[in-house]
Symmetry: C2
Subunit: 486 residues, 2 copies
Amino acid sequence: MDWSDLTPARSAALAVTRALAFARQRRDESLAELGAFLRIPTVSAEPLHARDVRRGANWLARHLRAIGLENVRVMATPRHPIVYADWLLAPGRPTLLIYGHYDVQPADPLHEWRSPPFNPTLRGDNLIARGASDDKGQLFAHVKALEAYLHAGSLPLNVKCLFEGEEEIGSPNLFAFVARHRDALSADAVVMSDTRMLAADRPAISYAERGALNLELEVRGPRHDLHSGNFGGVVHNPLQALCELIASLHDARGRIAIEGIYDRVRAPSPGERHHMARVGPSDRQILAEAATNEPWGEPGFSAYERLTLRPALTVNGITGGYHGSGHKGIIPARASAKIGIRLVPDQTPRDMYRLFLRHLARMTPPSVRVRVRPLSGAAPAVVDPRHPALHAAADAYRRGFGRAPAFIRSGGTIPILHAFRESLRVPIVLMGFALPDDRLHAPNEKLHVPTFYKGIDTCIHFMDALSSRLFSTRHSANRSAHRLGN
Amino acid sequence: MDWSDLTPARSAALAVTRALAFARQRRDESLAELGAFLRIPTVSAEPLHARDVRRGANWLARHLRAIGLENVRVMATPRHPIVYADWLLAPGRPTLLIYGHYDVQPADPLHEWRSPPFNPTLRGDNLIARGASDDKGQLFAHVKALEAYLHAGSLPLNVKCLFEGEEEIGSPNLFAFVARHRDALSADAVVMSDTRMLAADRPAISYAERGALNLELEVRGPRHDLHSGNFGGVVHNPLQALCELIASLHDARGRIAIEGIYDRVRAPSPGERHHMARVGPSDRQILAEAATNEPWGEPGFSAYERLTLRPALTVNGITGGYHGSGHKGIIPARASAKIGIRLVPDQTPRDMYRLFLRHLARMTPPSVRVRVRPLSGAAPAVVDPRHPALHAAADAYRRGFGRAPAFIRSGGTIPILHAFRESLRVPIVLMGFALPDDRLHAPNEKLHVPTFYKGIDTCIHFMDALSSRLFSTRHSANRSAHRLGN
């Protein structure tokens, strides 16, 4: 074969073939490398793990360097570092920004794990570990796709990688980072894999994410804990008052009872509701994924609609008083709850915070004092499914999974989405590989290994498809002239 | 002085004088010994402390032996041991059973202690330590009174000591123990010091204790924790459901909303209400002790009445979901609460348990499952204030504190009270030395040292007064023929 004969299209096809072959042949090694990555407990929420988060960043940076990326940096922020790397040797070609997060959720309750959360364990087709799916495994699919191309010498387009260590705590430092490095981070598209497919054989591209407002609500009563015999009945118990306040947040039918909360919620078009009913998961499917039989929630909407078109308020944790074995007869001096509110267009974290405070001011009796501390906020985000970058992703799924992806809304939150849209003004491709039963944020989180392998293939196809789609539609604009540190 | 000239009355007076002199001269040593006792973390509720509880029992037994008591035994139970000792060398004289508990409440929240809970620290007039007042300090007042008499060779009456290590977990094994050793424990009166005075200069004898039913309420929802983005709004959150159930336990005015809970509550006579208003603490005083300004509770009753004549339901602890720093977006699979209900005549733990279950059955929505586990129960108890043993206690307070005690009701619970009454059929003297601001069950529990010293004097006077009152009124019945192990 005379290599000089190759047309660009044939040359690209060959590159894909060789990248796929390399990736497939190295699957076992890729899984082992992911295992090493998962062993580092990069729990961003827990100060005790700050050093581990840094270790995780360094591990990732070393790995990116090893596979051939350039300009690899571990960049400090006020809390956890950002890992950056790029490869900008395809002049004239589009530039893709790959975003992911290497931090993970806390692992507790620890006793519910069947194997230790940071000791990745293969059970059948699944790799069990905290972060296996969210997001180390999904991030790693892109890394392995990059490796496969770079092994042969080049990528079909320019790439910038931005991997943060604070997604699970609301990306407090990434917003400023993106704004500060706006030019350096410029790209023709952003891709991130931190969303779910509908099933192992039903790939999906999310075109909407809910926002979030996360709060801590503290109720204080007496100055110190009191003996429940000597004071039970004459002092408003802060734990009881906290329960009463939390109970006031929903009505009996499951609607949120905060006044004004639904005022700015955008009504879905009949067309979208129809589309959602057709492609989205059924109520039964969603309940099955939740491992429960009992429906619950706001009347008048399907479960999928409640999860994506409607705000939700969840109590994520409560603590107060005595938790040990046996009993302790006290009225605790204080009690607190962590509360998360998922937002939909056109709600904003700021408005929601105001509504929440107003509700509390109305509901708090004079017998206790409350304090609300906002922990993090993120605006909801919707992307335009007609952009060529999303068509490229659809192409890639078709080739990687043998099936066209469904376009779906997601109930989750990717805090940085909004910043990417506002700061970088770039289309965002939410090309997720998580499965509905991956137990994200829960004990025994897992990665479906066959899906991980198909994910790598899909990422390989995506870079190829994106390059030709954007190149041919002139959507790219020489973003590769900018890089971090220039 | 010719000792053979002494009449019995003069001889008794001399014994009291010598005992008082000895006790007063040894005050510093007594406090140091109590300090050693307090260093042992005899936390009965926490399995991790089981060995410490045993250590505490052995320490106490050694001490009782050292001061001259006989037949000292550390008797195993299925959980924590009972310490028994006696001195039965006053034939024809009455027999007094001294009850106390050497176990203590858990010390958490640890970070709120100004000095470590098991490192007794003297601050001004107060000795700070877990158990300083409840009940090691109060128990020790009797021990030091016994020592003072025994130093001179004899007690004015027969004594049996019964010190348990499970009071703070509801005395699960003492009931059977008392029933089994009914004859051996027979006495003419029981005295225990585990109640409060009205102030440092206002001694008090409690003639009523509330009962208690302690429960654990667990709410279960999905099989495992769920991602709050992927499931928030379609699954009934067990933490939220728990709050809703707890909120349903009171009405907006502070009355308990469990149907039927007030049905069997005995209405107080106008005479008793009048007595209570006259001698008992005022609303303002009780709120000041609680270090709060805001009144709360069932309308139509004074704070003192609410605390003693009316049942109270307190949530003593809640746990569920994420408590760490930052935030975790989950719907927890389960949540649980510890709940205590204080009972008044004629309520029983069994009836209350039934009413509680019925309330839950009515209020629990189909979207969650609940499980209730009773932890411990105790019947309320009232003693007859006209018995000569109570007059003897009043004499003793007058001499020890220079002031007649008030007869008051207490809001607390002494689980074994009921068993003593039913099994031993003996009058019970609740001769407490705790002060309202002793922070029982709370961080920085303390013992007011001057009150401790007056307590020792009072215990010395009490034995003398009881001996002559019961002897002269023929209330005693040669209980000293029986002892444990006979």
